[in-house]
Symmetry: C5
Subunit: 379 residues, 5 copies
């Protein structure tokens, strides 16, 4: 229930939108919006200027004086401020709609004086959902919109301020690439996390020591599918940035994007693998379930079939026919009547056990114990 409520809250953003028939560009602040801050960072190879809480006039000044200005808008609560800022920067009103209304799909759109790119950062807070980051890239500026702070983007900020690597010597496109690259790299730990979860689930299923929660595997599978789908869109996005003639990315940056593209494909391949594995786990679980069902029925059959004929014999000699007639159960008055009856029963039981033995019913369950041993032998 708790989970479902959570899911609903996440969906609420998708369905938290103006009613059909509204004017295009109508925006509604998202439900979980954080307060808005403008973080500024402007740099040229030799100079750097950073401000944690910038304002609009400051932005204007920086745009004129530095080679690259990175305006990072964190928190989407103050819709008016964002709209004002966007108007000042000359962004289309549909762009503003895209920034504020959380879109489920990464995309790139080219306008006259800027390009709009949206990417999704996977979140590490256990919900495994993603958060959209909008990146707008112009000739001398990069504007990023995000609702919450992302540590790994702060790492880029540090590289710029501490002049680590080449980033200070490069232009806006390189900064944009660096952000996208960091976002893609954030999918590596997510993939690793699910790989470990599946390993644990596989051990549980094979060893059968702990009851296995099928539902959990189904949930994992649907999460892995989600990440695969969203990463696939990122792949398309990077491809578009590299190939599209309208793309703002120069030849030089494309070499770097190709590298980023390769990383995306690596994670996609790995997620493909995980999808396969989760499917296999479910199949395996069903197969073992059916196997266990067989084992139980076999046990029931052995027990029942052993005792039923024996019980019949006891019933036979428990009948109350008058002993006066010599036809009525003469065995009862035999000296060795009781041993005779016991031997009769033993014969019935052992002939059935012989049948079971021939049918291989006493073999140890291959699907669990044997495989365990094989694992050990090979390991």
């Amino acid at each position: 229930m708790a989970k479902n409520l959570k899911r609903r809250s996440l969906r609420r953003n998708l369905f938290h939108r103006p009613p059909p028939g509204s004017s295009p560009g109508t925006v509604i602040p998202p439900l979980n919006a954080a307060p808005t801050t403008l973080k500024l960072l402007a740099y040229s190879p030799d100079e750097v200027f950073g401000a944690e809480h910038g304002d609009l006039p400051q932005v204007k000044k920086l745009l004129d004086s530095y080679q690259v200005t990175w305006i990072s808008v964190v928190g989407l609560q103050d819709v008016e401020l964002i709209q004002k800022f966007c108007t000042q920067m000359g962004f289309h009103r549909l762009t503003v709609e895209d920034i504020i209304n959380q879109n489920e799909r990464p995309k790139v759109e080219h306008y006259d004086n800027y390009s709009y790119i949206s990417v999704h950062v996977p979140k590490h807070d256990g919900r495994s959902e993603s958060e959209m980051i909008s990146i707008l890239i112009g000739d001398h500026f990069v504007v990023s919109f995000q609702n919450t702070l992302v540590d790994y983007l702060e790492a880029i900020r540090n590289r710029i301020q501490k002049k680590v690597g080449q980033i200070r010597f490069k232009n806006c496109e390189y900064l944009c690439y660096a952000i996208i690259d960091a976002v893609i790299d954030m999918y590596f730990p997510i993939a690793e996390h699910y790989a470990q979860l599946l390993d644990v689930a596989e051990e549980d299923i094979i060893h059968g020591l702990k009851p296995v929660a099928v539902l959990e595997i189904y949930n994992m599978r649907s999460r892995i599918n989600y990440f695969h789908r969203i990463l696939w869109s990122h792949k398309e996005l990077i491809n578009q940035l590299m190939r599209d003639p309208e793309s703002p990315m120069s030849e030089e940056i494309c070499v770097y994007l190709r590298d980023c593209f390769d990383h995306t494909i690596q994670i996609l391949d790995f997620l493909d693998n995980l999808k396969d594995n989760s499917k296999t786990l479910i199949d395996l679980h069903l197969s073992l379930q059916s196997h266990r069902s067989n084992e139980i029925i076999k046990f029931l059959t052995i027990i029942t079939a052993t005792f039923i004929p024996m019980t019949f014999v006891t019933g036979l000699y428990g009948m109350n026919f008058h002993q006066s007639s010599p036809w009525n159960m003469p065995e009862l008055s035999w000296t060795y009547g009781y041993p005779f009856a016991l031997i009769l029963m033993a014969c019935a039981a052992s002939s059935l056990w012989l049948y079971f033995y021939k049918q291989n019913w006493f073999s140890i369950s291959p699907a669990t114990k044997r495989e365990l041993e094989q694992e050990k032998d090979k390991g």
Copy 2:
């Protein structure tokens, strides 16, 4: 039965057509056709004229004097009037056929002086079926044909009359875009509705409190498939409007259509998700069903296997062998014969229970209770 009848009535429109071999362009009024009304709305940036019950001569006049005339034909009963109107507007007779015979697939077709676009509005009346709207767009007019009134299109009419947003300043293409955008947006609540239904079904399956109606999930899945399919066609349609060189849509409108295209893809992605979920639900249901079957058989086996050997012992000492022979059941005359028999039975039963315990048969059903608890722990 009721549902099947309903379905048949919906299908009847598809099969309510002239016999094979008839002349092309032969039309038959649809079965559930409503009376025909012409709603007129003509506007320039400064002027607006609206009429709830217009007539043909009025249409002619409006077309000459306003920048945009929106003729909205509601109800398809009066086939003759529609044909007359179409002739006056210069529409091809195949277009008339397309308007009146309900087509199952959205499409766009370009003629010399107008373009024909058909879209589908999802209906909220519980039947979850869609209704076709035909839009014809020329240089100075937009004609829409629909059988019943749709509230959200009325919202556009209001925006025009009350001069809300930019719509009054734009041309026919923008009006056409506005209608398509409103129609696409109508799929959001539908998707939300099914998401909620699936959530409820999932809870029912996992908690197992209420017997789950498999059939309902199958029905939901087929509905979701239906909406996915029809929305996919809308995606193609919008794409065609944007890319086709014959398309009446200008560059400026294409920016808006791209936005509308994105919405379509968002809903499609979400419906894809729902399709996945419904499939998972069915798989989960089957898996739990098989699990429950296992549990029942296990219970049967435990009960049977416990009592059968004990009953055998009771049968043994219920036999009537003559006590005269010392070989015939001497236990019966032992002082502690009865306690001995009871201990024998207890041994048989407890050794079996030990076996069951080693086989983990007494563990609580993992597929239901345990998962519930896990849910709670995590939530």
Copy 3:
């Protein structure tokens, strides 16, 4: 068996062919060939000439004097006549092979002075198989080959003779379009027929009143697949006629073909739907089968588990231990021994029933009755 024999006879046409390594163009009259007749119909806007049993010289004369001559060859028995006729018309020998050997796939082929089109008419005679019609279109003639008379093509003949619609004023291409359109329209009733059959099967499965024949659903599914496949080829064919630069169809006819193309897609969509439904029905059937199996096992378990402990108690007090020892079943001599035994049994039974009740085993089968009621409530 009867059905299989039928199928074999239908297949026989496919395998009724010259041995591998024969000369190309070798023909063998089909097995079920009907006697050959030439039906002639020649017309200009003002004149019309029809003959039920034409001959070759007559054909020559008509070709020279009328704008459109439709030579309809009915029955493929007289291979020699057909070959002679084809030679007179200047058709390629591979064309003759295509006409006489029944091809399983609609196709269009362009030759120097004519185009060869083959379409398939679905048959209404319960076998649900199709029959090929070959259409050859030249500048002033349309030749159609078919083995049996098709009513709906006669409807076109009537329209021409009675001057209904525009067909008399149009050229050969329009006639060719009219034939193809009639053939496509013949798939509507077929689709409707299967929709009804599936409805009936669904009711049978859900209500469970009548035992359901799985095999029949499998058969339906394979038929629907067949029609989908063949109609898909027709779609490709019409598309090729519209787009191929070699196609004999003019711009004007393409507008009509587009209409016909739309019909094809409508039926394909509907058949897709039916395919989905038939798959769902089979899944549903399996799910209900497994559900019923569960119900039966549950019943068995309740009965067995109720009586087995009670029977054990009766066995217990049926033992023959000597009453001389006070340890040997003192209950037997108690005054209230029998009531005590009865209460013991009642306790055992009722504690088990309490367990069953807690496990919800007494709830009504949800998969059948409950859903029925829900259906009724909603209907």
Copy 4:
């Protein structure tokens, strides 16, 4: 076991190759290679020359004097002779490798003065495997390499020698087409063979008279898949021959190849159908298996549930409570005690049978008998 050994021997050819890192063009004679013979056949419209055991100098002479020389190399044992011959003809060493190492996939490759085409002949010897034929076509020669004689290619040789049809008047390309056409046509009987096998298996499954070998259906399916896959490659090959600008085939031959292409598609369609059928058969088998399981459990339940309560009653009155107490089973001393007990049992049994009747458990198995009858009624 026998089959597996066979399979391994077939695979051995695939894995019978030089080790990785060897020079390209290294050849190893195939394992089952037959002795090599050169069959020559040279012809012009008026002349024809044939030799069953030709030699290399003869080949040279024929190439210069006839319009078409067909050198048919049968048997691949004498690798040296083949290499010598290929060098004389000017073939690339990779071509030699392709000829001798059996390739699993039909292909066409164009070299400067010849084209290399490899096709696969299905074998009729029960193993259902194919044999590769390499065809090399130059301006005046066709060279074919095959390991064993194929009857249907001999048919072409006969047509040439007896001047049947047009083949004598045509060039190398036509001969090449004739060979490919004969090879494709050899797939018709294979498809027919599997159609018949599936029919038999279907009857066995439905009528249930004979136990059905699932494994056999799985084997058939994998064979049909194999033929589908290899034929699909042939389709691609023919398409490439028709469309590739490098292809040696002229316009005129393309008309014939189109016919051959159609045949390929017909068989592919039919094999698609068979694949569907085999899948349906397996599904049907599983469904019937589960149905039979249900029937058996139902029977067990009816028997058990009928007798268990009755047996309980007999146990009840078999208890040995002292009759001295009036509370201890007074029924035993009633005059009508026994009839009373019998009636009690009859009531228990009949109430249960009423329940079974209401649950429709006595209806005849629908999945077998009923369907049989329906079949008969319809047939």
Copy 5:
């Protein structure tokens, strides 16, 4: 457990990477890196020079004096040396990242003065995982990076030194082709290995002699999938080398690459086949499991149904009704009472056996024994 640990260690390389947000081109030596050695081999048609432990200045000299210099870097431990070497050769820093960070996907990338190609060698050490080899090809050099020595590449080295085949007379592209060809050929034994494993598993499943480890088949399937996926990427890579206009491969080498491409497709086809087979095996296993379940239940039913009515009869005559009343079990005092009871039981049992016989329950299990025999008959 052991296996999972292994898997984790293999994955560790994928996740052993700089944190998101690091500078591009940051490298970390792989976990299992071996010590770095430079193996040099330079040759012209007439000269050859080889060194097992070369150094950087030597490389420079060789590059100037020989036509082809093959620098083989074995072991990736000494990251600094590799970076220094790459800087000297003028390689891009992203190339260095690609070489050291093990990439999961073969790829080709073209830079100004060299091309980067990475391929994967399957490993024979039981883990069945692959190892990446990076190949850099320039005008006069081929550089290969690999972590461990690969025997088959040593075979190429030998061919060069011993002047076997044409390799000494060819240029860098041919050497590059030779390496790729050797790598592709290494997949043949892998495919053969899995084919044999599947054969063994199939025998085990069909004959049912040994309990079958399902998990093992699932593992095999996932391995086969892995090899299929990675080989598919190789296919794409070779295709790109042949078709890409930027590719360094000349026309002449493309003929060889086409041969290599064919080999790749052959193995892919074969792996496709194996994938099919493994899927069939799992299906077959499930089908036989369900069949065995049926057999067990049938046996249980036969035993239970035989003895339950007989036991009921014995219970009946074990009741203790007072013989004083003539209504109370008069059979007990009949002279032939006991034989009568025995005959009653025999009748009950034999009527049930007749039913079983009519239901064909005594037939031998078709899924195991019969098929075995059929196999033998056919073999």
